[in-house]
Every structure is written in structure tokens, then in C-alpha cells.
Symmetry: C2
Subunit: 304 residues, 2 copies
Amino acid sequence: MFSKVALIGVGLIGSSMAHAMRRAGLAAHIAGYSHRETTREKARTAGFADSVHASVADCVRDADLVVLATPVGTFAELTREMANGLRKGAILSDVGSVKAAVIRDVGPFVPDGVHFIPAHPVAGTEQSGPESGFAELFDGRWCILTPPAGADLQAVETLKSFWQRLGSNVEVMDARHHDLVLAITSHVPHLIAYNIVGTAADLETVTESEVIKFSAGGFRDFTRIAASDPTMWRDVFLNNREAVLEMLGRFNEDLSALQRAIRWGDGEMLFEFFTRTRAIRRSIIDAGQDVAEPNFGRRPRNTP
Amino acid sequence: MFSKVALIGVGLIGSSMAHAMRRAGLAAHIAGYSHRETTREKARTAGFADSVHASVADCVRDADLVVLATPVGTFAELTREMANGLRKGAILSDVGSVKAAVIRDVGPFVPDGVHFIPAHPVAGTEQSGPESGFAELFDGRWCILTPPAGADLQAVETLKSFWQRLGSNVEVMDARHHDLVLAITSHVPHLIAYNIVGTAADLETVTESEVIKFSAGGFRDFTRIAASDPTMWRDVFLNNREAVLEMLGRFNEDLSALQRAIRWGDGEMLFEFFTRTRAIRRSIIDAGQDVAEPNFGRRPRNTP
């Protein structure tokens, strides 16, 4: 499908893309870039790339697909660095979790004749680094493309087909709408998970050892999400401020109503609220976006 | 260990106790009670009880261990109903997620000569009903006993050994402290999970279909917890009001600080906050309270 794909960043997403490209035979040459020697070494050991580079210009040379897969705060500078080396007709894409800011920041550095088509695969794990990737990460998940106004339709189709062959479903969406949707389905959930883990860690009345021991009451699930990469998530919040603050405002309003119901003993309100949230779980399972097994199929460690 | 154990309530916890008792051979006779005929029928079909009763008095007759395993709001009335039929020397316990309110409400109805030892197994799934139970539910999890002042030490030891033989670790704790610990490790996590699912369902700018499709960004994890039994959780919040409101106050304070950091673009504060929450995840895995596999070991449905 491509003669050379340049992965600018070889963490969880970049390395998983490489594994999935190999599985489907999508690239004759996969080049990886990292600015850190330890990361390049890990990438070489993992062996998913045909070449690993310390220089962005080297990595993108002659590539017909270039994918930014570092934290979104680095995209503009990386694009500026690579701009002169980008091949005419190449597709430049990314995997960032925010899209309007990426278009705003990267767009100005994209040379004429290069097709800039931002993308966001809605998939991941709480792990990071070149050794955490695997080919199945995108299977059955959704990848959202947010082509800017006037984008080349052929390039959009090519990228769409690429993500489908990596295992994803693909949806095309306006960048601002993407940011709103992801604020509620991903960004605010991460923020409140980070927050409750922080709150629990800071209590004087409950020890950390108690928090750990009794975490199976629900808390442990939040710690998985709160173990996600801090740099990536810092950049997400800095670059999707408006949508996150808007959704957080709604979250807070609703939480105040629940808090009030608890204070005044309004059992009817609580029961009603807790009842209507069950249906969404069912729909997510039916849509193949989560497993049906109780407790995500986890079993206690000492179970035979 | 016991000649007859009466399970007042045969939902997820009651039925799992029955399965675990059979696995360890702890009771010569297991009696189950439910006020609903459909539930009794399901319990009979599942076959974990030797007898299934529509009357609490019948169920507890001659039992040397009686366990309240219905929503905590029903405990006082059930105890009043069974009080005359309780055997001298019997242990009366429960599995409620709150403890001070249970001692306050149930205590007055416990006849002399009956040992009232409240308990809380910190284990569960998002499913409910007699068909959802399984013997391994308590394996490696913690069960907290909160004996009231002056409780019979022999009875506490017996109940402790019982829960250990069901697979649990056991800790003895003051009821008020239990309620504080569980407010942060279980009750507030459930409340915010219910809340974000509710918020997402009510948005005008993002469709429910979008919320479902793109839930793998983090949201889907919250829907599991928000699929828990509404009656049980209504009663938890009505009966642990003070501790929940206190912990919710802390959560809100911390969330305001994060919100402010996002508004003012304070990347340093965000990065620092997101970094220190990783260690707690590691400790929970090391303590055997969660699996180490990324994404809780879930794999996309269409993975070979």
C-alpha cells in the first residue's frame, strides 16, 4: 500500500501501528523516529521497524505516509523540522487525541503538495513505550479522520482504507465536533480518574495501604486509567481546553444534583438516576466496544 | 462448620457465598430467602441452596449463622421479622457496604444471646441476581468485620475463619472508619461513574451513538461500574451520607484545582499530578487486587 511509512514516535500507538502494518502487509519499509536514545534502543530490540532514526528529516525521507505519534504538544515543532524533507504527494497524518488544535498548529507548516489528513484511533492501553505495542490494538475500534476544509479526497480515501486494514472502523468528522465527542468519552473520564486517585492518595484519615487493600470496591478500575502516560495527557488537556471545560461544567452540575439528593435523602432521585445508566453499558457491549463478562473477565489471582 | 446457614437475600453476594460454602464444605444446610417469587425460582434453578423460603422466619429457624444479603435499607425490618425465630447462640451477620448505619438500625432488634457481627466482603461484579454468583468471587479479596463494642470474641473468631474459608483475607475495623475507607475506595467511585454516564446520556451536542462508538477512549470502563444494582447503591448513599459527602467535598476541591490548571494552561501542575498517580496502580497489582495485563486483559472481540 505504501513504499515507506514514517512513524514519528514509536510509543504504544506507533509501535502498534507498525505491528498491525506488518500483519496486513501495508508498507515495504517502516521507519521509526524517537528523540531519545533509550526509546530508539527499545524500538530496535522490539524489531517492528526497518529503520530507526534520531533525525526527523532522515525518517521522513521518501516516505509516502508520515504519521505524527508523539504527544500533541510536539507536533508543530516536528512538522517544522520535517517540512523541507517531505515528499510531494505524501500524506501527513497523526494519531493525536485532539484535532482542532492540531490543525491550527500543524497546518501552517505543511508544504504545498503534501496532504495533511489528521486522524485519531480511539484505542489504547494504560501502558506506554515501544515494547507495549501489539498488532490487535485497533481491531474493532474506531479511527476518526478530521480532514481540514479543501483536503484531497483521494488522500482521505487512502488513509481511510489504511486504517481499515489496520483493523479499525473509520468515521470522518469535523475537528471541532471530534474534540467535543472525545472530551466526554475520553478526556473528562481520564481527568476524573486521575483526580480520584489523587484525592485518595492525599487523605489523612485513610491510609494508602487501606486504599490499596480495599480497592476492589471500584477504585482499582480508576487507577488503570490514571496510570496512562502523563505527558500525553498533559498535552491533551492543554490542547482541548474549551471542550473539556464545557463537559466538566456539565459533569459538575450533574454531580451537584446527586450530592444534593444524598444530602437530603432523596432516594427516589438516586434510584432513577442509577437505573437509566444500565442501558448504555448494554449498548456498548452490543456494539463490540467492550466485553460482556462480569468484571471485564478478570478473575482473582489465586483462582485455579 | 455450621449446621445451617440462612442467607437472607440470594443475589450476587448471597449466591456466591452459597457456592463458596459448598466448595469448602462449610454448611450442612444452606437456606435461602427472597421476598420475590421470580428470584426464588431462579435460586431453585441455580441449585446452590438446600431450601428456598418466602418467609424469613422459616429461613432462619435453627440456623447457627444468619447473613443479611439484601440492600441495606431492608435490614432493620427483616431483623425485626426474624428476631423471635433466631436461635440462642446464633451469629447474625450481613454483607452490607455500609456499617455504622447497619449497627444503628439492626442493633436494637437483635435478641439477647444472638451474636451480631457485621461484615462487608469488598468484592462484587456489575451483575446481580441468583444466577450471577460464583464460588471464586471472594478469593484474594478482603472482608471487613466491624464488631460493635462488647461483641463476643469467639463469635468474631468464628466469622473470621468462615470468611477465610470462603477465600477472603479478613480485617477487623471500627464501623465508622470502615465507612470512611469505603466512601473513597468504593462509594464515591461509583457515584462519579454513575454521574459521568448520566452526563454523557444527556448531552445535546453529542449523540448517544457517538458516546457508544467512541467509548473505548476511557468512558466504557465507567459504564461497567454504572451498571451496578440501583437499589443496592441507592441504599448505600442514603446510609453513608456523611462520609460520602466528606469525600465528595475533597474530590470536588481537587477537581477544581485541575480545572483551574486546564483553564490557565498550567502544564507543569497537570504533569506533576498525572505522574504521581501511577505508583498506586503498581501497588494494587502487587497486592493482588487487580490484574497486571493492559486493559484488564480485554482483547477486541474480533481478535483471533
